[in-house]
Symmetry: C2
Subunit: 152 residues, 2 copies
């Protein structure tokens, strides 16, 4: 099993970061505009990603396994690409030096692959989008996300 992990600091409160991770409005402001479902504990959230032209390029379903206010969010991917199903996504929050530090993990990939390397880079870009949303009110969710290679 191999993992993607990233660390980012957001100049805001854990409460505001947590809201951006646990509400449909929050998630649609930094990951993908096309977010629906139930973002609460036990809920299933559906995320769709489109090209700027409107073509569907990806679709995932995440089941919320943990949601500890201002501390931790944990999803399991229950629908989506073969290499995503069964992986876990976590956001752990802590305050240091006046910033909310997000320790992000997308863990339990079956193998290290070029697809995983793409996702690692893409997650970094989306975490910058999360920071922008929380700090300024404007993120860069799909389909307006920064494209990082020939895949997306």
């Amino acid at each position: 099993m191999v993992d993607i992990i990233h660390r980012i600091g957001i100049k805001s409160t854990p409460e505001k970061v947590y809201a951006a991770l646990t509400t449909i409005q929050g998630l649609s402001g930094w990951w993908t505009q096309e977010t629906s479902g139930d973002a609460g504990l036990g809920g299933l959230i559906a995320f769709s990603f489109r090209s700027p032209g409107g073509d569907l390029v990806g679709k995932m379903g995440m089941t919320v396994q943990a949601a500890k206010p201002s501390q931790e969010v944990r999803w399991i991917c229950t629908e989506g690409p073969d290499d995503w199903v069964g992986t876990s996504i976590t956001f752990q929050l802590a305050v240091h030096d006046g910033q909310t530090i997000v320790l992000f993990g997308h863990r339990d990939w079956k193998e290290s692959s070029e697809s995983m390397a793409h996702c690692s880079m893409k997650w970094a870009v989306f975490l910058l989008s999360l920071r922008a949303l929380v700090e300024t009110g404007v993120g860069e969710p799909s389909p307006g996300d920064l494209k990082i290679d020939n895949w997306n």
Copy 2:
């Protein structure tokens, strides 16, 4: 052993990307302005990182283990922080859909740690800086690099 891997596409030729990875001028244009030494095969490159105020925040020495023109660059970290020494850094280049795809790896970390998560995020930001340098002529090297958390 755990690894950081990222994938990024650059709208330029592999020759230009390779030059940005194997010359002191290139490296100082996207990673850190304070780059010196010998960037050729077998050479030792010294990288220093400073805060915007001028304090030294990191220093690494990389020995160039492989340098295949327009294909691959491989360094071993021979001096630096404890968790970096012995790790390998690779840039593998390939052309797809008119872009030079860089498959980046920082491998063989002894353990998964918060420090590694910081470096994973930071590498993503520096790869965007590499892309900007090659595509536009202007990168964002240290000390003008995008700060991503309370550490740097």
